[in-house]
Amino acid sequence: MNEPSVNEFTIKIANVNGTGSASANGMLMKSLFRMGIPVVGKNYFPSNIQGLPTWYEIRASEKGYLARSGRIDLMVAMNAETYNIDLTEVAPGGYLLYDSTWPRHSMLTRDDITIIGVPLAKICNENFPNARIRVLMKNVAYVGVIAALLDVDLEVIKQLLSEAFAKKADLLEANQLAINMGYGYAKAHLDTPLPFSARISDKTAEHIIIDGNTSSGLGCVYAGATVGAWYPITPSTSVMDGFKHFCELTRKDPETGEKNFCIIQAEDELAAMGMVLGAAWAGARAFTPTSGPGISLMSEFLGYGYFTEIPAVVFNVQRCGPSTGMPTRTQQSDITSCAFASHGDTRHVLLFPANPEECFYAARDAFDLADRLQTPVIVLSDLDIGMNDWMCADLHWDKNYQPDRGKLLRAEDLEKIEEFHRYLDIDGDAITSRTVPGDHPKGAYFTRGSGHNMYGAYTEDAGEYLQVVDRLRRKWDTAKSYVPGPAINYSEKNNTGIISIGSCNHAVREAIDTLGEEGLGVNYMRIKALPFNGQVQEFIEAHDKIYVVEQNRDAQLKSLLCLELKVPDEQLTEVLHYNGLPVTAGFVVDAIHQDLAKGVAA
């Protein structure tokens, strides 16, 4: 960023976890948002609780590019331990802010960037008596400094502070003091603003800043889920935190405290999945959030749900595998394991939201699909979507929405029919009717993971068995017309396409713009669900060259496309990013450049 620019920059703040920097960083991001500037906050934190390096990255982009930017304009290097690496990450021409209370090691410097020292600790030590407060206020103080450097509206910050500390006057005062100290110091001692800075804009009206786990939890509330069972696991834990929070807020009888929901912290993921199946079988909308290891543990039960046709909803907030892997890093590497979770010929319906907004509506869709298709539906988000702060359009709830419970016969429906058979395909769409236990004697049936015939009776008969599993396979075809189709940006002019999925979206869109500026027009399809429907097939057929951008090592989405749509491998070129950090537009552009260069060389 060598030319002065407005509302296009990335700040990265290096810190140590457990020092309270999160709220300061969040405040900085929100103040930009309130100034009307599109913004995104990404948190890179360790898998421990206190004392290890942590980073927070804020990208402001008037143009609305909200992927990880891949370049750092201003590094706030508050962690001596990582100073060395942090220094190297700054883009040429960029800035590094550090705490000059203590001298930097002389060797650690660069000529192509500007180093800014502010004696943050010193200032705080002088102004705050208590040790813990000093640590906290150092964070607030650098926000003050940055506000000055970037010309952030101080009033906005102060408003944020007064909202946050409405009930804590002493803290409000301390925070305001720290902001002022930082701001004042910078104004007095530094060249402000920097060549890149913030200016009031209008791009964030009717938008919110939210993480995908919170919006997933909120979506479950609105979708009418009444039972949630879970076992804590990073990065999915806050889905249930969100659900619980909003349930407590909206579904508790103000007088009796009685709850219109039931949340169970299970003993493990096997149990969580069992609880969801039990509750869904009993007629409730039930769900469980988890991450990779949980999916592995749920495999047996997922297969049970598939074969017995129980509508269950699972949120898999993907993290970096294999095994425990890097639990606080992001990946999209559970696509294969979710699609085929469990032994035998099992396959699952998947949804792929791309951001918190879509997580909210995906919750609704997942429950509707699960009920209509009577099968487990897994929503695959990831750590990037689930735990980072994304700017999204306001959420709305259609007041006419009614849950689509599918072929669920309640007592009054059963009264009207002669006989009920659980697995009899009356309508020819491979979907059969189910009932609610306790409703009516006519509705009683026996659910079993062992061989059953279309009347629900136990069978070991080859023919009866085939009737059921072949119908399940046909149901997969039915599912194609029910699941959300892909999001497509198409122009006949282009014969190159990109297919991607979930949290790759922002990076890909930005990459497509970049490529467009270079003269390479690229069409775009974002997959939203498995099974793939006809539109997916058409898009692929309409292009000579297609890049599949995804965040895993083994090209899992591409593999599924090849398998399910019988696409020849050479038609799809893999673009794989899987180091645990969110993919950037630059990575996508580079990969395509490289591939094109290969084409030229060949």
Binding site: A266, E267, Y304, Q402
Partner: protein, 351 residues
């Protein structure tokens, strides 16, 4: 062999219960277990108990894991919903079902393999949550369905059919449950229906988790000499500690009970279990006494049966959680959707 294959022919002279059903209405499909299997007797006792309690059949939910024992829900209560889950995981499914509908009678049927090996974790946690259900372990000391391996309930020194001796100590589900705070713990014997039926009735009516460990011999793999779970061994070492008699709410308790030996325990729906001490050392209201006796008797090779421990004062899961009294499945969507206005309000925090 499906539970649907059996036509319900009603015998005109069969007695009916308070809701006009006969015992036949509580039966299920034809059993596919071995002739003489203890589990079939438990099935029979369950049919009798459910019939005598006059509960509408469709108000039961019967759940199980995998094993010969876990097959039995297909053989009773034909008009009840059934859920034959995966091996060892019935407790979680029952917990989930119960969370969604607190008003049904939940009967979980499991085996000693199903509950004490693969299912141990879930068993323990269902107890801890005090799920309102009747949980049966049809305990034969072996894995019947996979052909006779020792289970974790096999006694030290018990002999397998082919002669091998079990060398590991057994897990006693009753002692384990009492230690973990279970609120209703009993032991029965499939060969003693008179004792079993009242225990089953009491267990169904108990508020919270009711465990009955039922010694239920496997005639095919564990009914030989040297086995400590055979009919012969169990009959010989049978030791009834606390007899229980179930009295429904409407009936008056007429008998006089001697202080200290007989005691009525009121259940939450108004019915009563009348306990009678056979073993005078045993106090079924006192955890430690129950444990001590169980352990001492076990060491002496005795099979202690009866209602071993009861505590009607503990809240079950929904009471702990303060869930609404209406089963969640019966809530209308309007009762759980906060609406768009609230959504807009909520979002003000995210700006």
């Amino acid at each position: 062999m499906s539970f649907m294959s059996k036509p319900t022919v009603r015998h005109p002279k069969l007695p009916v219960n308070d809701i006009g059903l006969t015992v036949r209405d509580y039966e299920g499909g034809m059993s596919t277990l071995c002739a003489g299997c203890g589990h079939d007797s438990v099935t029979g006792a369950l049919v009798q108990a459910a019939f005598e309690l006059s509960i509408p059949t469709h108000r039961f939910a019967k759940l199980s894991g995998i094993g010969c024992s876990s097959k039995t829900p297909a053989y009773f209560l034909r008009d009840s919903h059934g859920f034959n889950s995966t091996h060892g995981r019935m407790p979680s499914v029952a917990t989930g079902a119960n969370s969604a509908n607190r008003d049904l009678y939940y009967i979980g049927v499991s085996g000693d393999g199903d509950s004490l090996s693969i299912g141990m974790g879930q068993f323990v946690h269902a107890i801890r949550r005090n799920i309102n259900m009747l949980y049966l372990i049809e305990n034969n000391g072996v894995y019947g369905l996979t052909k006779g391996q020792f289970s974790a309930a096999a006694d030290k020194g018990s002999k397998a059919k082919k002669g091998e001796t079990n060398l590991q100590p057994p897990i006693d589900p009753c002692q384990t449950a009492i230690t973990l705070g279970a609120t209703f713990v009993a032991r029965g014997f499939s060969g003693d229906k008179d004792q079993l039926v009242p225990l089953l009735k009491a267990g169904m009516k108990h508020r919270g988790f009711g465990l009955i460990d039922i010694i239920s011999p496997c005639v095919t793999f564990n009914d030989h000499e040297g086995s400590t779970k055979s009919y012969a061994y169990t009959r010989e070492h049978f030791n009834l500690a606390i007899a229980a008699n179930f009295v429904p709410p409407v009936e008056e308790i007429t008998a006089k009970y001697e202080e200290g030996t007989s005691m009525p325990v009121k259940l939450h729906d108004g019915s009563t279990i009348v306990l009678r001490k056979i073993d005078q050392d045993f106090d079924p209201m006192d955890r430690i006494s129950a444990l001590r006796n169980l352990q001492e008797n076990a060491e002496a090779g005795e099979v202690t049966t009866g209602l071993l421990y009861i505590d009607e004062s503990q809240p079950e899961m929904h009471e702990v959680d303060n869930t609404t009294k209406t089963p969640l499945v019966d809530l209308d969507y309007s009762q759980v959707c906060p609406g768009n206005d609230t959504l807009q309000k909520i979002q003000s925090r995210y700006r």
